[in-house]
Symmetry: D2
Subunit: 138 residues, 4 copies
């Protein structure tokens, strides 16, 4: 299966459809069923104590998984998250970007299922684990 959107196409989609997100997120790598997304961590993503907040990690996983699906089916803005589950396992490193490694586990007619591991850049152990289900437009 060829990719429907490459890295440049995904970034252009993000800029046009999610302008408020385009400064936070960068697609690092994309391949069939795989995508790595970077969150450029700024003060806006932190919680008290200086670590990346839960909602920011949720957003990173959600955008990364969304784009991993679009890379395979093309720019369909109507795909919506129906279920999201996250385990927060370790404290993110202060002052480091986060990287989210997505796997597409199922791409069906109606539902897509993906999971992801989230890392503080430069660290071997994952900070968080996420899985999400998306409902796909007809």
């Amino acid at each position: 299966m060829a990719l429907a959107m490459d890295k440049a196409a995904l970034m252009a989609f993000l800029e046009s459809d999610f302008p408020q997100a385009k400064d936070d997120f960068v697609v690092e790598e994309v391949a069939e069923g795989r995508l790595t997304m970077r969150l450029k961590v700024t003060d806006a993503h932190l919680r008290p104590g200086g670590t990346v907040s839960g909602p920011s990690m949720f957003a990173l996983a959600d955008v990364g998984i969304y784009l991993a699906i679009l890379a395979m089916i093309g720019p369909k803005a109507l795909a919506v998250t129906t279920n999201a589950s996250l385990d927060f396992m370790r404290k993110p490193a202060a002052g480091k970007d986060m990287l989210c490694e997505v796997r597409v586990l199922k791409l069906g007619r109606v539902l897509a299922v993906c999971d992801a591991l989230l890392y503080s850049e430069g660290q071997a152990e994952p900070v968080a684990r996420a899985n999400m289900t998306y409902s796909l437009p007809k």
Copy 2:
């Protein structure tokens, strides 16, 4: 079991420990094992299409559940979310605040388990469902 923190104490804690959140969230009601939290929806919480974003709903559930636990155990800033799971069921209404109704299902020595239903104000059917586990400090 008496409440360790009432509505005023919870709002004071939010203002001192989460100053960036204090303009977004209001504790509407609190009782033993129950709390209702309001998200004052502004443009910052919206996603393309004008509905409340997933990360904003995650934040609403997370803050509401956190304060429901603190209402019972007192102001311990070290409680951390270890697991969060959300089902997004309906589109939030545009231009409406959201209300999050939390239940504390278990308050153990080490873990607390809660769930919540999220509503657009004035609508009978829930927009989303959340459950979260918190690890409690010793």
Copy 3:
């Protein structure tokens, strides 16, 4: 919305379509969007230590939620579980049946979302919490 199946119709469906389950489960109550299911606990449901096993609780929640959906849409054997999440909060009581109280939170064209609390009979505090998503046949 009237019920498509009452208690007797649900039990008849269970006996015809899930004969291996009919001795374990009893529909106690059913109403619009609500159902209570009993697991008649026998040695087959126990794990070492004498408490009800995780797979038995999973089965109780799955069957209870399935029948709560069928009560509203009629006997469609093709509904399938797509996502299941459980929190195990307390040890089930030894030698007690378990009761599962289901709520239907969303009944859409394609997906149904439900949650449930599981109790050891006669105890006030829930043993487990479950939520499940079902994909509905066309």
Copy 4:
């Protein structure tokens, strides 16, 4: 980190502590943070239609994840599942064993977090995905 229990020690533990499970499950491979478990599928594991039932897949993931943790910490029968989440993605193949590939993502003092992919033997695409959290004994 050396393994605390090898394949033979894990199988001996299963036979002594979970005698009802010892005929169903086989540890195929174990390494640091990894384990592959086989479910020897028999009629007892099937649901109407002839595919492996949800509770059987739950049991496979639960036993596989449990033994992956014990392989690292030794035979502590008191570890208990606190959260389990599964996505059922494809129909299991009829008449095939199932294999469960576990990863240990975090092994903390109090909690362990793992995930797993479940396959019908001989098929490339996973049938289900699971993640579980275990509470560890002191």
